[in-house]
C-alpha cells in the first residue's frame, strides 16, 4: 500500500523539473524535451487517480487511462510537427539557441 500523495508528489517534482528545464535551458531541442517531461508528469497523476478511484468502486475510473492514451497521441503529433519546425528554423538560422531565434520571420 503506497499513499496516493507519494505519487502526486513525484508527479509534482517531475513537473517542476520540466518547468525548470523550460525556463533555464537555451537549446531548443532540450526545451522540447522538457515539455515532454511535463506531459509525462501529468500522465502519472491521471494513472494514479484512475487506480485510486477504481479501488473505491467508481465505474468510470478507467477513463483516466483513456485520457493518458489521448495525451500520448497528442504528444506524438506535437513532437512530429515541433521537430519539423526546429528543422525549418535551423535551415534559416543555422543555430539551435533560442536567444538567437527572436524573430518569427523565417
Amino acid at each position: 500500500m503506497v499513499p496516493l500523495s507519494w505519487y502526486l508528489i513525484l508527479s509534482a517534482i517531475l513537473f517542476c523539473l520540466g518547468v525548470f528545464g523550460f525556463l533555464l535551458k537555451r537549446n531548443i531541442i532540450t526545451i522540447f524535451m522538457s515539455i515532454e517531461l511535463m506531459l509525462n508528469a501529468v500522465n502519472l497523476t491521471f494513472v494514479a487517480f484512475a487506480n485510486y478511484w477504481n479501488e473505491r468502486g467508481l465505474k468510470l475510473a478507467l477513463s483516466g487511462h483513456v485520457f493518458v492514451f489521448f495525451v500520448m497521441v497528442v504528444a506524438a503529433a506535437e513532437a512530429a510537427v515541433g521537430l519539423a519546425i526546429i528543422i525549418a528554423v535551423f535551415r534559416t538560422r543555422e543555430t539551435l539557441n533560442v536567444d538567437r531565434v527572436n524573430l518569427l520571420k523565417l
Binding site: 513525484l10 509534482a12 525556463l23 531541442i29 524535451m33 494513472v47 478507467l62 506535437e78 513532437a79 519539423a84
Partner: protein
C-alpha cells in the same frame, strides 16, 4: 512493504533521470536520460495496474518519440549548448515561483496524507487491453476518430514544414 520499496526505487531513478536531463549540456545526453525517465515511469504504471499504458509508454514514448528526437539531434549535428545570458525575468520570477508552487503542492499532499488514503496493486485485470478497448471503442469512439484526423493533419504539417523550399 514490497510495493513501497519498488515505488521508491523507480521514483528515485525517475527523478535522477530528470535532474540529469537538466544538468547535461549536450542534447543527446539529455535525450538518453529522458528515455530513462520514461522507462521508469512505465514501471511505475505497472505498479498502478496500468499494463496497457506501460506497454504503450515504452513503445510510443521511449520508442517512437525519442527515436524522432535522437534522429533530429543527429541530423542537425547539434553540439553542446551555448552559454547565453537568457531571460532575466525567467530567472528572477520563474524559478522562485516554481519552487514555491512545488513546496506548496508537497505540503498540501503531506498534510492531507491521512484523508487521501493509499493505492495498492489491484488483483484484477484493471488496466489491461481488454477493458481499455471496450471503453475506447464504445464511450470514447468519437474522440478516438477525431485523433486520427489530428494525426493526419500533423503528418501533413510535418511534411510541409520539413520540405526544402525552392
Amino acid at each position: 512493504m514490497f510495493h513501497q520499496v519498488l515505488f521508491i526505487i523507480f521514483g528515485l531513478i525517475c527523478v535522477a533521470g530528470a535532474v540529469n536531463l537538466l544538468m547535461q549540456r549536450h542534447p543527446i545526453n539529455s535525450a538518453l536520460s529522458l528515455v530513462v525517465v520514461m522507462a521508469s515511469l512505465a514501471l511505475i504504471y505497472l505498479l498502478l495496474g496500468a499494463e496497457f499504458l506501460a506497454a504503450i509508454q515504452v513503445i510510443v514514448y521511449a520508442g517512437a518519440i525519442m527515436v524522432l528526437f535522437v534522429f533530429v539531434i543527429m541530423l542537425l549535428n547539434a553540439g553542446a549548448e551555448e552559454h547565453s545570458p537568457g531571460s532575466k525575468i525567467a530567472l528572477l520570477m520563474g524559478v522562485p515561483g516554481v519552487i514555491v508552487l512545488g513546496c506548496l503542492v508537497g505540503w498540501i499532499m503531506i498534510s492531507n496524507n491521512k484523508q487521501l488514503g493509499g493505492v495498492s496493486i489491484s488483483p484484477t485485470d484493471f488496466g489491461g487491453p481488454h477493458n481499455i478497448a471496450r471503453l475506447l471503442f464504445r464511450d470514447f469512439l468519437l474522440p478516438f476518430e477525431i485523433t486520427s484526423v489530428l494525426i493526419l493533419i500533423a503528418i501533413m504539417g510535418a511534411v510541409v514544414l520539413g520540405r526544402r523550399s525552392n
